[in-house]
């Protein structure tokens, strides 16, 4: 009988949002990204992009500032909770 797979259906439509939330929390915890008081974090905001670059440089990835698949995969890796940069 056909099997209903809700995750498969929902992932594509929310993935950018999920990625952005993951990346934002990651950069806030490990790269001192300031928490935005109002409104949502923009992928293209100057501080967000520069923090993505910081993280890409730290891990030796292409420092594009863009949330590409390598960057997201690394953000999903289990890791130590101590920040990578001075607090």
């Amino acid at each position: 009988a056909p099997t209903f797979m809700p995750e498969t259906e929902s992932t594509p439509s929310t993935e950018p949002q999920v990625d952005l939330k993951l990346a934002t929390e990651y950069l806030q915890q490990y790269y001192n990204l300031e928490k935005e008081t109002m409104g949502r974090m923009k992928r293209s905001g100057p501080s967000f992009t520069s923090k993505v670059k910081d993280m890409q440089i730290f891990f030796g990835l292409n420092a594009t500032g863009v949330l590409d698949s390598d960057t997201l995969e690394l953000m999903r890796s289990p890791r130590c909770g101590v920040p990578d940069v001075e607090d």
């Binding site: 915890q29 490990y30 730290f58 891990f59 030796g60 690394l74 999903r76 890796s77 289990p78 890791r79 130590c80 909770g81 101590v82 920040p83 990578d84 001075e86």
Partner: protein
């Protein structure tokens, strides 16, 4: 602690205590894995770690989930595995593990030994490294080379904690090379060894080899033939050129007329007086990967078992079936009443195990399960 070069402890002897345990592993296994993780740094530096059972140790080790009282809540399975605070009073040095993870001593789940060694690097003042080969690399890796620490890690910890000047060193295998120990090398060495009857003489390993008894200390060797006290002595390399290191543990299996000499995570096989082939890894006996060295080893002819002692635990290896017995490691003190401290060397003869502990030898009756006599270690050299 000090802020002069980033935070570090202002002392070389640091205490730790384990508060809340995980249910993923037996308590004594958690104890041993944590101790081994500290030993990684002790071996590479002049630091010493002492276990305490109070809550005011320098480094408190805890397993906790989500919000656990330090403003840095954990996040459930995966994600953040653990964190540690740099040296300091109060929460300084404290190390927390996310108990929503599955903690193991092997390849599955998250290996507690590996993660703990990383976090203790932070507790000592180290930061994350960009070098994927470094233990201080931020993301978890389940497989590591036998040497957990990269050269960078070793350089960084010794940049923070310079060796303690002028402190005599009796156990250089804890990371001190004999070079910085004038009285063991250079002009004094022969003189000391000639004085083999020194009151506080201790041995690293003692074993039968053929019809003689070998006593190892540092890179020096005494050989006693049968019970005569005309003892040959000299650097180990004089007798076994292939062996250029000290020996931590040694045992003799009469049935094979073979001796096994262990140094850190490697061992040599000796037949007659010849060292056979190349050294092999301790994992040959079936140890878990986190076992990097043993304190003592002894083969008990009566049971066909070889016992390996490390800190306060021991393993039992079945020489007939060539497998490690199930249910090990176990506490030494539980199975060997009266033997409740680290063992330097062990020697089996006619139903007795002789535990060399510091300058003393505790004669243990294997059948009666009790220590029946204590004598001086140097009496074995006829002193």
């Amino acid at each position: 602690y000090s802020h002069i070069q980033g935070t570090r402890w202002n002392k070389n002897v640091i205490t730790y205590s384990i508060g809340r345990y995980t249910r993923d592993l037996p308590r004594n296994t958690v104890d041993s894995l944590v101790e081994s993780a500290f030993s990684v740094w002790a071996r590479a530096s002049s630091l010493t770690f002492v276990r305490s059972h109070t809550r005011n140790a320098d480094i408190m080790v805890e397993f906790a989930t989500h919000e656990h009282g330090d403003l840095y809540p954990f996040d459930g399975p995966r994600g953040t595995l653990a964190h540690a605070f740099g040296p300091g009073l109060g929460v300084g040095g404290d190390t927390h593990f996310d108990d929503d993870e599955h903690w193991t001593a092997g390849q599955t789940g998250f290996n507690l030994f590996v993660v703990a060694a990383h976090e203790f690097g932070h507790a000592l003042g180290l930061k994350h490294s960009r070098n994927p080969q470094s233990l201080m690399y931020p993301t978890y890796k389940s497989s590591h080379s036998a040497n957990l620490l990269s050269n960078e890690d070793i350089a960084n910890i010794n940049a923070l904690y310079s060796p303690v000047r002028g402190r005599p060193n009796y156990f250089p295998r804890h990371g001190w090379s004999s070079q910085n120990n004038a009285w063991l090398s250079g002009s004094l060495f022969p003189q000391l060894m000639e004085n083999k009857c020194a009151k506080d003489l201790t041995f690293d390993a003692v074993s039968t080899v053929g019809d003689a008894t070998f006593f190892f200390r540092e890179k020096y060797l005494w050989i006693k033939h049968n019970e005569q006290y005309d003892i040959k002595e000299g650097p180990i390399t004089n007798f076994m050129p292939k062996i250029e290191s000290s020996i931590d543990a040694a045992f003799w299996v009469p049935r094979r007329s073979t001796a096994y000499l262990i140094h850190e995570s490697m061992f040599w096989t000796v037949k007659g007086s010849l060292v056979k082939g190349k050294p092999r890894a301790l994992t040959h006996f079936g140890f878990p990967a986190w076992v990097q060295d043993v304190d003592a080893a002894v083969h008990v002819v009566k049971t066909g078992r070889t016992l390996f002692f490390m800190h306060d635990i021991y393993w039992s290896y079945n020489e007939n079936r060539r497998v490690m017995d199930f249910g090990y490691p176990k506490y030494i003190s539980e199975d060997f009443p009266g033997v409740n401290t680290t063992i330097n060397a062990a020697f089996y003869k006619e139903g007795f195990i002789y535990f060399f502990i510091g300058p003393q030898v505790h004669k243990y009756d294997y059948t009666q399960k009790q220590v029946v006599e204590v004598e001086k270690a140097n009496s074995w050299l006829g002193c």
